[in-house]
């Protein structure tokens, strides 16, 4: 029988035998190792995910600063860079090979390790048991393993930065043949093996986590917490986990075939290839690189919703709390998230419009893709209606949540362009795509994550973050994000392709030289402001203003009924019972009514 004691969760204990029961009674003695390292407390695991994600975000961001330096100042050398970075910046310039390695790592790291592992890992772990009223996850042991697989994957990925031939450099989508042939480029050698290993560990981590999140949400809710009384954060994290459970395994099968092509001599993805560097014609025949693209994007598209849905959930909750109004259209919100989850599996080929896809098939995917605009628009409408005529408290969390909505709208609109297969012929693989997905998924999900951190920091550490620093962080990041990515749309419309190291030899793009300098300068400033946030974060853990009341935001949800610094098990006594949904704000003349309060005899219906 498993050891992952379900920490006195009564509904589970009843199904266990007597022998197991006594296990719950005596409290564990916690050592440093069990409390901070191999912790099975969901709150500690969440913090581990958060801080690991932050380290990754700094690395990934730094990479973008480096390659932006190249793009902004292609003819300049920065000799001091060589002192810091050694062979990465020989003579103060980034070589073409290193540029591609940086772009690839930047994409991989930010998409998977920060905005999937870091975002879901942090908030699913932290919030699910607290908001549904459970003492911990269904399996705390699996939860711990999920973090350590993530950590292992991280170590392997970082180590690929230090191998002699460099990390993988064929783009975060890892298309063959660059990813399948060691001879294709330096990064395709050991770097790619490490990349696959790291990603495989990451997939295992995501699956372990996802299984747990779904199982916990469905099975471990406290008395009275029916599914439709759950805060929207729970629904969002739930759908996110479902997406991950069903799509990551397909990516894994794609990787397995890739491994066999690399090392087993098969040719699933390879056909008729002549390698110029080794002057060799390969015997592989009959393979199809497009097959990999199908397997990749079957995960790849759900992946963008794996990134986005948690941000949507966090923002919904924070917007409602700080607007002091119930979220508008709760069921419509749940319904649109459900629709997004289903549609996410049916649109992957919009990434493949120009691969020679049958145009009829293409038009089906156009239709399905544009359908996603419907639930997305419903959500936007509901957020805007929630803040309509509200008495908004502009806390840093609220600002970031509103920033998320703004970015989601801006980025969503350009998605409508890209979803049309005919327009995509012109736009695909240009800076228009870069601008689109950075705004709609990259930066907006970051905003959701920041909103979450600012809002729940008091619950995580029993202290507040500094507000002044937070406001600087917000305004500079919001303005900066638009200044960086908005102009990229124009570059893309003019046909400027992505994944190029130097545009200065191109007559038609010389007009953008100054613009590129501007973008790069802003990128450096925005990066610096993120360091300010990190300072605020770590400083406030130790020195921040102390939280003195259990419910500093006046929120209805269960996490604010726990002690200011909850121990393992979350509630000291019994788990509270829930009597109402999570959004009774400004009701019957009261500012808010906690979920734990029974419905009064004269209460109005919502």
């Amino acid at each position: 029988m498993s050891n992952d004691a379900l920490h006195g969760h009564p509904e589970v204990v009843t199904t266990h035998d007597a022998h197991h029961d006594e296990h719950h009674v005596h409290h564990h003695k916690e050592t440093f190792i069990t409390k901070y390292v191999f912790s099975q407390d969901h709150k500690m695991i969440a913090k581990q995910f958060l801080i690991t994600g932050m380290v990754w975000a700094v690395l990934g961001g730094l990479m973008s600063v480096l390659f932006r330096l190249q793009l902004g100042y292609p003819d300049q050398a920065f000799p001091w860079l060589e002192d810091i970075l050694g062979r990465w910046a020989k003579g103060g310039k980034i070589s073409a090979e290193n540029y591609y390695a940086l772009v690839t790592m930047h994409g991989t790291v930010l998409v998977f390790f920060v905005l999937t592992g870091g975002l879901s890992g942090t908030f699913a772990n932290f919030l699910i048991p607290l908001q549904i009223g459970a003492r911990d996850m269904a399996s705390p042991m699996m939860n711990m393993l999920s973090y350590w697989f993530f950590f292992g994957g991280s170590i392997v990925m970082v180590s690929s930065l230090f191998v002699q031939t460099g990390p993988f450099s064929g783009g975060w989508t890892a298309y063959p043949p660059l990813s399948a042939l060691g001879d294709a480029s330096p990064g395709s050698k050991v770097g790619m093996d490490l990349w696959i290993t790291a990603m495989a560990l990451f997939v295992v981590s995501s699956l372990l986590g996802g299984l747990n999140y779904v199982s916990t949400v469905l099975n471990m809710r406290t008395k009275g917490m029916s599914m439709t009384r759950m805060p929207l954060t729970m629904w969002a994290l739930f759908f996110t986990a479902v997406l991950g459970i069903l799509s990551f395994p397909v990516l894994l099968s794609g990787f397995i075939l890739l491994l066999f092509d690399r090392h087993g001599g098969t040719s699933f993805y390879l056909s008729d290839i002549y390698i110029a560097t080794t002057q060799q014609a390969l015997p592989n025949e009959g393979g199809s690189a497009i097959l990999f693209q199908h397997l990749f994007w079957f995960l790849g598209h759900p992946e963008v919703y794996i990134i986005l849905l948690p941000a949507m959930g966090l923002s919904s909750e924070i917007i409602s709390v700080n607007a002091r109004k119930p979220i508008f259209g709760y069921m419509a919100m749940v319904g649109s998230m459900f629709a997004i989850t289903i549609l996410a599996f049916l649109v992957w080929a919009h990434h493949m419009f120009v691969t020679g896809l049958n145009p009829f098939l293409g038009s089906v995917f156009v239709l399905l893709t544009l359908l996603i605009a419907v639930p997305s628009a419903i959500k936007v409408f509901n957020w805007l209606t929630t803040i309509w005529k509200a008495n908004i408290r502009f806390t840093p969390g609220m600002l970031f949540a509103l920033g998320f909505v703004s970015l989601f709208i801006s980025g969503g609109l350009t998605g409508i362009f890209l979803g049309n297969s005919t327009l995509d012929i012109h736009l695909h693989d240009t800076y228009f795509v870069i601008a689109h997905f950075h705004i709609v998924m990259g930066v907006s999900a970051f905003f959701g994550m920041f909103a979450g951190v600012y809002h729940w920091f008091p619950k995580m550490y029993g202290r507040f973050l500094n507000n002044t620093l937070a406001y600087i962080h917000f305004w500079v990041t919001l303005a900066g994000a638009y200044m960086i990515f908005w102009p990229m749309h124009y570059e893309g419309l003019a046909g400027m392709p992505r994944r190029y190291f130097d545009y200065s030899n191109w007559e038609s793009f010389k007009q953008f030289a100054e613009l590129n300098k501007f973008i790069s300068t802003v990128a450096i400033i925005v990066f610096a402001v993120q360091l300010l946030f990190l300072f605020n974060f770590f400083y406030s853990i130790f020195k921040g203003r102390k939280v003195t009341t259990m419910n500093p935001w006046g929120a209805t949800t269960l996490e604010w009924t726990t002690p200011i610094r909850p121990g393992h098990g979350n509630w000291v006594g019994e788990i509270p019972e829930v009597h109402r949904w999570a959004y009774d704000y400004s009701k019957d003349g009261r500012d808010f009514i906690p979920q734990t309060e029974p419905i009064g005899p004269n209460e109005s219906h919502h």
């Binding site: 029988m1 498993s2 969760h9 009564p10 509904e11 589970v12 199904t15 266990h16 035998d17 022998h19 197991h20 269904a138 399996s139 699996m142 699956l207 996802g210 299984l211 199982s215 916990t216 469905l218 099975n219 471990m220 809710r221 406290t222 008395k223 009275g224 917490m225 029916s226 459970i245 069903l246 799509s247 990551f248 395994p249 397909v250 894994l252 099968s253 794609g254 397995i256 075939l257 066999f260 087993g264 001599g265 098969t266 040719s267 699933f268 390879l270 056909s271 015997p283 592989n284 025949e285 009959g286 393979g287 199809s288 097959l291 199908h294 397997l295 079957f298 019994e574 788990i575 019972e577």
Partner: protein
């Protein structure tokens, strides 16, 4: 306060997690068999004759499912003696299945079907059957753990949940095999 369930019969979280994991594994094999289908429509596709030994291994894994079910039944009846025997039989059949799979691979390999160069039904067969084998191996290891527990006198345990979890998994890898096997018979 007793936190009772909001629904009539609640499934144990561990069992539920297993069902989710099964969904996940199904997606992985669905990915691989879809790749097979997509690939099969392309020029240069080669088929394969599935070695006879895989018919026998199918029989073995089907029987092991039966013994697993009987083991679970005896456990629930607290007939520990019989439970241990049946568990042993199941694990042995599982290992026999794996050995037969390896023999099948060997036969195929010796008849000149290699991984190199090709990307036809045979290469898929090695990979898909191999991955299935890994899942059986995982189940066999879990059975081994159960087996050791059943023989250790110290731990007296009448909790049926772990036994139910492993038996569900075992039936699943059995069904998965039947699907994969039939898939290959029909498709090649």
């Amino acid at each position: 306060m007793n936190v009772v369930s909001t629904r009539p019969q609640k499934i144990h979280p561990h069992k539920f997690t297993l069902w989710l994991a099964i969904g996940s594994i199904i997606m992985m094999f669905a990915g691989l068999t879809s790749a097979y289908i997509v690939k099969g429509e392309q020029p240069g596709w080669s088929t394969v004759v599935v070695p006879k030994i895989f018919y026998y291994s199918t029989g073995v894994i089907l029987i092991s499912s039966l013994t697993m079910q009987m083991a679970l039944k005896s456990f629930k009846e607290r007939n520990m003696q019989q439970y241990r025997i049946l568990l042993t039989v199941t694990a042995t059949l599982g290992l026999a299945f794996l050995v037969m799979q390896i023999l099948g691979f060997q036969q195929l390999f010796n008849s000149g079907v290699k991984l190199e160069g090709g990307a036809g039904a045979a290469q898929f067969l090695y990979i898909i059957f191999g991955l299935h084998g890994l899942h059986v191996l995982g189940g066999a290891i879990a059975l081994l753990v159960m087996f050791l527990k059943a023989f250790s006198a110290r731990v007296r345990n009448y909790n049926a949940i772990p036994v139910e979890v492993i038996s569900t998994y075992w039936h699943f890898v059995d069904l998965l095999w039947v699907y994969l096997f039939v898939f290959f018979l029909v498709k090649s």
